[in-house]
């Protein structure tokens, strides 16, 4: 069972900081190692900023998963932005339609144990990542 979940809106760069703090609290609570904490917080920061910069804002659902044999943090980012036309291209390092470095999406995938993305042009983007102990 999921022991705790919390939803945060992402509407400003202050909210990106709030997302990092929430993910840190949960990562510590489930006992992730320092390196794993740092990885999932960094991935969350990238995806929160993507939702803000490219998706026009959105929200994250953070879940602290605390089951026998499975402990970790799962994060679902959703926005109602323009969506991603070519997901494979967007996952490549250096791909960007904006002002960034194009590391966010591919980087977030590398920093996570689980990564899934659903996006349709005109409908928005949903990304789920998880880091397990």
């Amino acid at each position: 069972m999921t022991t705790k979940s919390e939803r945060l809106d992402i509407r400003s760069s202050d909210d990106v900081v709030r997302v990092r703090q929430l993910v840190r609290t949960m990562a510590i609570a489930v006992g992730l190692s320092l390196v794993d904490q740092t990885k999932i917080i960094t991935a969350a920061s990238e995806l929160a900023r993507n939702a803000l910069d490219y998706g026009g804002g959105g929200f994250v659902l953070a879940e602290q998963v605390d089951m026998v044999g499975r402990r970790g943090v799962r994060l679902t980012f959703e926005d109602r932005g323009p969506g991603i036309a070519d997901i494979d291209a967007a996952l490549k390092d250096g791909f960007t339609t904006g002002k960034g470095m194009g590391l966010g999406l591919g980087g977030a995938r590398r920093l996570s144990n689980e990564f899934s993305i659903h996006s349709k042009p005109g409908e928005g983007t949903k990304i789920v990542i998880a880091r397990w102990k």
């Binding site: 990092r20 740092t38 990885k39 920061s45 990238e46 960034g100």
Partner: protein
Amino acid sequence: MDRIPILKFGNALLVTIQVDMHDRLATALEEDLTSKIVEANAKGVLIDISALEIVDSFIGRMLDNIAAVSRILDADTVVVGMRPAVAITLVELGLSLTGVKTALNVERGMALIQARLRTSDLDDDDEE
């Protein structure tokens, strides 16, 4: 808006980042440092990130930009105190900060800057 304080230390500037920076604060630091380098005629910039629990691509790019701009303004940038977990994560993220000099702590970072200053002093003497 909050600002990150920039201290003058001889002909170097010292910045200690102690808060979880939101993006506007990082951008403001970049701008403040640039004008301060000129104003203080600084030859070195030391950025202490030992309190930072993460460095994502935005903060990484800020560090890269500061190093690039200060180089053009004839100042060296040294980033010091990066936590090991942050270094591991940065590499996996795909950011290698190739344009940024790093040192383990403030002392070593300052030594790097001073060493460069001594060399340029010698160069100046040669010209005289």
